[in-house]
Assembly symmetry: C2
Homo-oligomer: 220 residues x 2
């Protein structure tokens, strides 16, 4: 039982298992990982440098998964909406890994390539250079924030708030909870933002060309 004729392990198998473990519980140990793979812990080190590398590989895999193919032939509004939804859905499959992903750079070929397409599209749509990156940053913020929301506990607000008689209590009681609440918040934000972008585009095209339109307030 020393070296098998065909390897029992592969990097892919290790990463697959790590994702399915960390994606549900939010944690994984080399011991569990080995056990699940029907192997001793020390075997893992023939394929991987250590726990940190496993984590790094998981991160890379997730990033690839976010390089969703979006049809960029449509209106920019639809493309942005579709990409945001797709990426959030990809994150939502492994909510516990969102923090991991959010704190690491975009990989070329993964999420970064979707971003390139969108950048082109937004430029062609007439958005100013200065706006394009910020729009992308904004969509990222919404995707990340909207995904983390999915990790929130079912009851976002404690019971005491619900029992109150003020505006928040009334409003909260009338709203959905859990995943559908998170979905609603995400979609609401997406709608609002896209509408706002449409208007920003109208304004700037009316006024001639680019610049940074109305932002009331500049506090120095």
């Amino acid at each position: 039982m020393a070296r098998p004729r065909t390897p029992l392990l592969s990097i892919d198998r290790i990463v697959d298992e790590a994702i399915s473990m960390a994606g549900t519980t939010g944690a994984f140990t080399m011991t569990e990982l080995a056990t699940k793979l029907g192997v001793r812990q020390s075997s893992l080190y023939n394929h991987v440098d250590g726990r940190d590398e496993v984590l790094e590989l998981v991160r890379q895999r997730l990033h690839e998964d976010m390089g969703v193919k979006v049809d960029i032939s449509g209106r920019w509004q639809d493309v942005v909406r579709a990409m945001a939804r797709a990426q959030r859905a990809a994150l939502a499959r492994h909510p516990w890994l969102v923090p991991l992903l959010a704190t690491s750079p975009a990989e070329p070929g993964g999420a970064a390539s979707s971003v390139e397409n969108v950048a082109t599209l937004l430029s062609k749509a007439g958005f100013a250079d200065a706006d394009v990156l910020q729009i992308i940053a904004m969509v990222d913020i919404i995707i990340i924030g909207g995904s983390l929301d999915l990790v929130s506990p079912e009851h976002l607000y404690p019971d005491e708030v619900l029992e109150g008689s003020d505006d928040l209590a009334r409003v909260v009681r009338a709203a959905p909870t859990g995943v559908s609440r998170a979905d609603a918040g995400f979609e609401f934000t997406l709608d609002l933002v896209i509408t706002a972008l449409e208007q920003r585009l109208e304004h700037s095209s009316k006024r001639g060309h680019s610049g940074t339109p109305h932002t009331p307030e500049a506090n120095a």
Copy 2:
């Protein structure tokens, strides 16, 4: 050296130290914690049930810190903007704890109380009940997403992207990086969203009964 006449430890000291450790490195161990506090590991268990409880206490403390006092006497636009900025700033002080915080419910007296005030304000401003909670959810999404952005590495996009000649590359090269980039994205999003909300309010008040414009004094 058994029991000292005045306790060496207190829950507060433990939590303080845990925050300063986890807030910078993103991790803490009971061993380090004890060492930093000039005490043996086992001593910690006289004050705290275990590592998990320390984490829970950290979470609670952070939540309290987010119960920022905002002056709610101004325009709802200014209040929302001020609260969003203040909460993001509070999170930014311990960026590594954002994921922890984002995945736990709001505590009464902490962030929840700020939210109550804002809910009242938005209701009075004329927003529909159905909108109020979603607006709050949206602001949360932006705060959380905008805070996590601060944990991102300095270079959000890999070098290969920067070297390209396409729209993204041009646009990225022209933009700030690091914290100021994150700040810019956050402020851009906040501006856009508040502008959009103003317009939403105008529309609905035009369509609805002609009263309750967005003056701070309006009563329901």
